[in-house]
């Protein structure tokens, strides 16, 4: 047993209102834990508290009761015996009459009533006693908000857990509830109140039961809340308007007995001017219709129908002028939420009372008079706005109604379709010379057709084809198609309104893609349709919209055809569309511009697997022809074509193939074919004129390989290796495998890959592409040889080799994580080769004379050979290798970083000259050249940034999470201390440059955590990047980091400390000539800075405003706008007024 004095102390502390909130909570917690751990029993507690529970001091009694209740609330899971519960609930039930201690009584009742059954619950009789006491004693509406909420919670709990007991109270209950709810305004309480009413209504389903007398009163209570409208928006964020509205909706629909009052109310509120009221009314109507049932709703049908009609037509907005090839609903009128809800309601009620609504719709005057509008106007632009609106409304109604069921579809089509077709036929016959189709009739036909089609698809094709509606369609479909085709052929030559064009093509598309069994279309009509559309593709490419729509229609027809099994249509589509478009690729006779041709090719191909196979065949043929033409014969025009073809292949075809199963063979075929071609050119003199073509070929190769499975990648790599090894000039002889020749002289800065022939470069680049894209576990033949090959070529400045080397390094497994050692080549071995392979000096006529002459990659970077270009090449190579290591998280990356840092620091060659005395004579003692150091600094950009050409997820690189953070946290401290220790301004600026690269690519969160230390480096970086126009992208990226810092709280503190220098820097960047985005962002940063504490920025105010005054005259509009905004922000930093 615990010390009674301790318990008393806790009780004292809780009851004493002068104690602080935390003290009271603490003592409550201690008492709870005492009881929970069985140190004291509930009985002891109650006995101990006797005085507090029964005293005549109201405040103390209230606190005491609340304490007991709160303790019980925390002990919901602790088992209690029935006697205890009985006496406790009895106590709280009595206390409900004590309005001064009410809070505790309510909490106590709730705590006991919500107990789980396994921990002991309140008995039925006790619960009834609570309910009786509640109804007798409580005047809910006179209480405060929190108490009201508790009251409602208690009531809700009683209704849910003890429905039979409270139901036995009969009329007392509805009476009490009506009284409690009446006049409630708090959203939290209202949600509960609506729920209580719903529960109450469901408790007494009998129409003549106890509820009968209170229905009117309940409805009046609910009615006053509809529509839900918050007069003080934003005050209550946790209860949304929608939650409340939904609760009310459920309360309304809780019993069909409310129908006679609710539906008229909702219909009446539809005429409200408040849009949210209309939306709510329609939503409630939909919901209530479903709940009240067809019979009860039948008598409201007429009123509902006319409300729907008005709701749709009054809520339309003018159509947007430009019609895109995107699909649109109806005539393109913008429908708001009201119209949307009205259409939902229409669908529900039509489904519910089918016959009733059908006759209403068919007899409707507005709908029958639409034919007057249709017949009196021809094309879209002739119809006045009002007519268009009505047409749209009727179209939508016809569509929705016909779609709901077969019966309605039959009735609608029987009534309207023949008449519409007659009008169409008449208009076509009358005006065969002009391009003229009755727009309105065509539009409504299309809506009906679309409804029929969607009905079939929606029913999973279970609807019989013999239904009347389809018979009607069948009778006129062929003639309709033929008429539309001849019409479209003329349309192309005339000026027709966009909307006219849209619906003509769209109708044709729907007819051609109508489910086969329900609407068989004759072969000739189908072919006519295809011919018309294809001829638009070939001839009318100047009419953008028509062309796009035709292509889209062809695509849809194509995917429809490839899904159905009608061999006749498949054949027609293939011969008319696919084959023709394939043959056009190799044929220059078509006037269709090449990019459009490719767009058409990829769209048609995407419509089905068989089509794609055909297309790919043609595309590959064209690609091979044009690249041979370009590489072997040097034809520039072919090169341009080849680039486009390859791009189309990479961007459109490969992703499609990747998503479709079973087409990998196509990719293999493509890759092997390219290698085959390359092989066949070996005897020719291959020229690489166009860098773009080589890049495009490489990208296509990479994507092809990357999209294949491992098995196929293996096959490709074997083929590639065969071609490579047959090209003897590239692979080194066995004897030179331990060292690599480099040339020391004759390399100029401008030369790139100088020592390659075009053929070598092509073979090498393509082979590197394959290596870049393979998956990690693919075995590369003769790995050592390949590694050395890349190592040699990267020193000659072949960047792709360096990338391939990095990718290889990245994908080798280390010894530890690779169980299958036998077949793999170890990462460690590879690193060994890369860093230890000695180069020999070809100046010495290839004689590997002494150890002194051997230098490795590291030494090359550090300038053992006084050749700038070679050094730069080695640094770039080293950076790519480092990136590979960094991504897979290998620790060797630290060595790479150290080498790069060493290049940056002055006297970077010192270590080298010390260790290699023999060479030092030939190495000049002076620092590395500027350009070399700069490339070492830029190597950090390469390490940190995401590359698009290699070492990313598409090309299966192994990427460890958070590698950027890791590099950031490793390198930044070193750089910071180097900057501090550096005494030459040039090397300091390079260190800043390297740091800036790391900062701008590091995740913002990492930068923010060190913002205070980094901000000065960042500012230096900004000023260094702003010197060279070539660095403008980097400048912009770094500036974005600064703006990120400015929007963060931690970052702002760092900025405040350096406010002056930040502002100096930003005002300078406001006039950065070379990039508008930099100026704009700099000004936005200044706007953000105006929010900083007044005292810190006020001194800079004049300086900023003066600069902004100039920026207002910026050549670019966007900058001027930002400048005005900035000026306003800074003007308000001062007390008032601006200096004019």
């Amino acid at each position: 047993m615990a010390e009674p004095s301790e318990l008393t102390r806790h009780i004292e502390s809780y009851v004493d209102t002068s104690r602080s909130q935390t003290q009271q909570t603490a003592s409550l917690d201690s008492i709870t834990s005492l009881v929970k751990n069985d140190l004291i029993t509930i009985e002891t507690l109650v006995k101990e508290m006797e005085m507090y529970l029964t005293t005549t001091d109201n405040v103390i009694r209230a606190r005491g009761t609340l304490l007991l209740a709160a303790v019980l609330g925390n002990l919901v899971l602790k088992p209690l015996d029935n006697v205890t519960i009985h006496s406790l609930i009895g106590f709280f039930t009595d206390r409900l009459a004590d309005w001064r201690a009410l809070r505790g009584a309510l909490v106590g009742c709730l705590a006991l009533l919500t107990r789980k059954s396994d921990a002991g619950i309140v008995s039925a009789t006790d619960a009834k006693a609570v309910a009786e006491s509640y109804l007798k004693n409580l005047e809910v509406q006179s209480l405060g908000q929190h108490d009201r909420k508790l009251c409602f919670q208690l009531l809700e709990c009683l209704l849910e857990r003890y429905p039979n007991e409270v139901a036995s109270l009969d009329e007392l209950l509805p009476y009490g509830i009506c009284e409690a709810v009446d006049g409630e305004k708090d959203p939290h309480c209202l949600v509960l109140a609506f729920h209580i009413i719903q529960a109450l209504v469901q408790l007494f389903p009998d129409p003549s039961g106890p509820l009968a007398d209170f229905l009117g009163e309940l409805f009046e209570t609910l009615e006053s809340y509809f529509p839900i409208h918050f007069t003080h928006p934003g005050e209550d964020t946790d209860v949304k308007r929608d939650d409340l509205s939904r609760a009310l909706m459920i309360a309304f629909s809780s019993t069909p007995l409310l129908e006679p009052s609710v539906i008229p109310l909702l219909l009446e509120k539809l005429s409200s001017s408040l849009p949210s009221a209309k939306v709510d009314s329609l939503k409630y109507l939909s919901y209530c219709s479903l709940k009240y049932g067809a019979d009860r709703m039948a008598k409201h049908a007429k009123a509902i129908w006319s409300s729907i009609k008005t709701a749709i037509s009054t809520s339309l907005k003018e159509p947007t002028e430009s019609i895109t090839s995107e699909s649109m609903d109806g005539l393109g009128f913008r429908e708001n939420e009201i119209a949307g809800e009205a259409l939902v309601l229409l669908e529900i009620v039509v489904l519910q009372n089918n016959d009733l609504y059908l006759s209403l719709i068919l007899d409707d005057e507005d709908i029958s008079t639409i034919f007057n509008i249709i017949t009196s106007y021809g094309s879209y632009k002739d119809i006045p706005l009002q007519g268009k609106e009505r047409l749209h409304v009727v179209g939508r109604i016809l569509y929705i109604t016909s779609r709901t069921s077969v019966v309605s579809c039959n009735r609608m089509l029987e009534t309207f379709f023949p008449r519409l077709v007659d009008i169409l036929k008449l208009s076509m016959r009358n005006s065969s010379r002009e391009c003229f189709v009755n727009f309105g009739a065509l539009y409504l036909c299309m809506e009906l057709l679309a409804a029929g089609r969607d009905l079939i698809i929606g029913s999973n094709y279970s609807i019989s084809a013999d239904e009347a509606c389809f018979c009607i369609l069948r009778s006129s479909s062929d003639s309709l198609i033929n008429a539309l085709c001849s019409n479209l052929a003329i349309t192309a030559q005339e000026v027709a309104h966009d909307v006219d064009v849209y619906f003509r093509v769209k109708s044709l598309q729907i007819l051609a893609t109508f489910p086969e069994d329900h609407l068989p279309i004759s072969k000739s009509a189908f072919e006519n349709c295809l011919t018309t559309l294809t001829s638009i593709i070939w001839v009318d490419f100047n009419k953008t919209l028509l062309w796009k729509l035709a292509l889209k229609a062809l695509y849809h027809i194509g995917s429809f055809v490839s899904k159905c099994h009608e061999s006749e249509k498949v054949l027609s589509y293939r011969s008319i569309v696919v084959e023709k478009i394939v043959s056009s690729l190799s044929d220059d006779n078509f006037t269709l511009p090449f990019p459009l041709k490719l767009e058409a090719v990829s769209a048609i191909g995407a419509s089905g697997m068989n089509h794609m196979l055909k297309i790919v065949q043609g595309l590959q043929g064209a690609i091979f022809a044009s690249i041979s033409d370009s590489f072997v014969h040097g034809n520039i025009r072919s090169a341009e074509m080849a680039i486009q073809l390859l791009q189309c292949y990479s961007e459109k075809v490969i992703p499609w193939i990747k998503e479709t199963d079973g087409l990998e063979e196509v990719l293999l075929h493509f890759a092997v074919n390219i290698w085959g071609h390359v092989e066949s050119w070996i005897s020719h003199d291959v020229q690489v004129h166009e860098k773009g073509l080589l890049d495009a070929t490489m990208m296509a190769m990479k994507l092809t390989v990357a999209s294949c499975s491992g098995e196929i990648q293996n096959a490709i790599i074997q083929k590639a290796y065969t071609v490579l090894s047959s090209n003897t000039s590239l692979l080194l002889k066995e004897s030179t495998l331990t060292s690599i020749p480099i040339r020391l002289e004759g390399l100029q800065l401008t030369e790139r890959a100088d020592s390659f022939s075009g053929k070598d470069e092509l073979v090498l680049s393509l082979f590197a592409s394959v290596i870049i894209a393979v998956q990690p576990r693919i075995e590369i033949p003769n790995v050592k040889e390949i590694l050395r090959l890349f190592l040699t070529t990267l020193l000659k400045g072949h960047v792709t080799s360096a990338q391939a080397l990095g990718s290889m390094i990245n994908k080798f497994g280390t010894k530890s994580n690779r169980a299958d050692i036998s077949y793999g080549f170890m990462l460690e071995e590879a690193i060994e080769i890369i860093f230890k392979t000695k180069s020999w000096n070809s100046q010495d006529n290839g004689v590997v004379s002494s150890d002194d002459n051997e230098i490795g990659l590291t030494d090359l970077c550090l300038g053992f050979v006084d050749d700038r270009q070679l050094q730069i090449n080695s640094i770039v190579g080293l950076a790519w290798v480092g990136k590979g290591l960094l991504l897979c998280g290998h620790e060797k990356v630290k060595d790479v970083i150290m080498i790069l840092l060493e290049c940056l620091l002055p006297g970077g060659s010192i270590r080298a000259s010390k260790s290699k005395q023999g060479l030092s004579e030939r190495i000049s003692e002076k620092d590395l050249h500027h350009s070399v150091k700069k490339s070492a600094a830029d190597a950090f950009h390469l390490l940190m940034s995401d590359s698009e050409v290699c070492l990313n997820r598409i090309f299966h690189a192994i990427i460890r999470p958070l590698y950027k953070q890791r590099l950031f946290s490793v390198v930044m401290p070193i750089l910071q201390s180097s900057i501090r220790n550096s005494d030459s301004s040039f090397s300091r600026s390079l260190l800043y440059r390297a740091s800036a690269h790391i900062i701008s690519d590091a995740p913002l969160i990492a930068v923010l955590s060190e913002a205070k230390k980094l901000i000065s480096i960042l500012l230096e970086g900004l000023s260094i990047f702003s010197e060279d126009p070539l660095d403008k992208e980097k400048l912009y990226n770094l500036l974005l980091v600064l703006s990120g810092i400015l929007t963060d709280k931690n970052g702002q503190e760092a900025v405040i400390e350096n406010a002056h220098s930040v502002i100096n820097c930003l005002t300078g960047l406001m006039f950065y000539r070379h990039m508008m985005l930099v100026r704009e962002t700099a000004i936005q940063c200044l706007v953000a800075m105006s929010e900083l504490p007044h005292a810190r920025i006020y001194p800079m105010r004049t300086q900023v405003i003066r600069a902004i005054l100039k920026a207002v005259d910026d050549p670019k509009r966007a900058v001027r706008q930002e400048a005005v905004r900035c000026r306003k922000a800074w003007a308000s930093v001062a007390s008032r007024g601006l200096h004019f």
Binding site: R1073, P1115, R1117
Partner: protein
């Protein structure tokens, strides 16, 4: 100030569909985009924020909805640094004309480069004391004096409140 509204029931016009400016060409970083009529109109009505910003002093409608300013009534020459805005008060004897004019002037001065000369006029025949209003609006001294009057400046600032003044 007069009590009650000068024009209690003004005619409200539908806002015209704004022509959309083509996306700025990224092709030429150094190309100059001169200040044009539409930009001035946007400054005055601030299309970018999509709310009616420049409040007519006595109605919560924007000046555009009341057709006080239209794009046609703006004349600008970036080369010669000159802009002229002609506005039309809703009624002939509108005493708010000078306030509107002052607001327009302040807004333009705050948004345009300092090299600009701003000329604000009442449309010919649209106001009873046209000449006087024009004179008052374009008198440098009087404008400066007006802006030194705190209550007047407050009123101007309130009219321009939600904009970037």
């Amino acid at each position: 100030m007069v009590s009650g509204l000068i024009n209690a029931n003004p005619v409200i016009y539908e806002k015209k569909e704004r022509r959309v400016r083509g996306a700025p060409s990224d092709a030429d970083e150094y190309a100059v985009e001169p200040i044009d009529e539409q930009e001035i109109f946007d400054i005055l009505l601030n299309d970018t924020e999509k709310i009616c910003i420049f409040k007519y002093p006595e109605h919560p409608y924007s000046l555009e909805e009341l057709k006080v300013i239209t794009e046609d009534a703006i004349e600008v020459n970036d080369h010669r640094s000159y802009v002229r805005v002609t506005f039309t008060p809703t009624v002939e004897h509108c005493s708010m004309a000078t306030i509107i004019g002052l607001c327009l002037r302040v807004k333009l001065i705050r948004s345009l480069p300092s090299r600009y000369k701003v000329d604000i006029r009442v449309a010919p025949g649209s106001h009873a004391t046209e000449a006087a209003v024009n004179k008052q609006l374009n008198d440098k001294e009087r404008v400066a004096a007006a802006l030194e009057n705190p209550s007047l400046l407050d009123m101007v600032d309130e009219c321009l409140a939600p904009t970037y003044g």
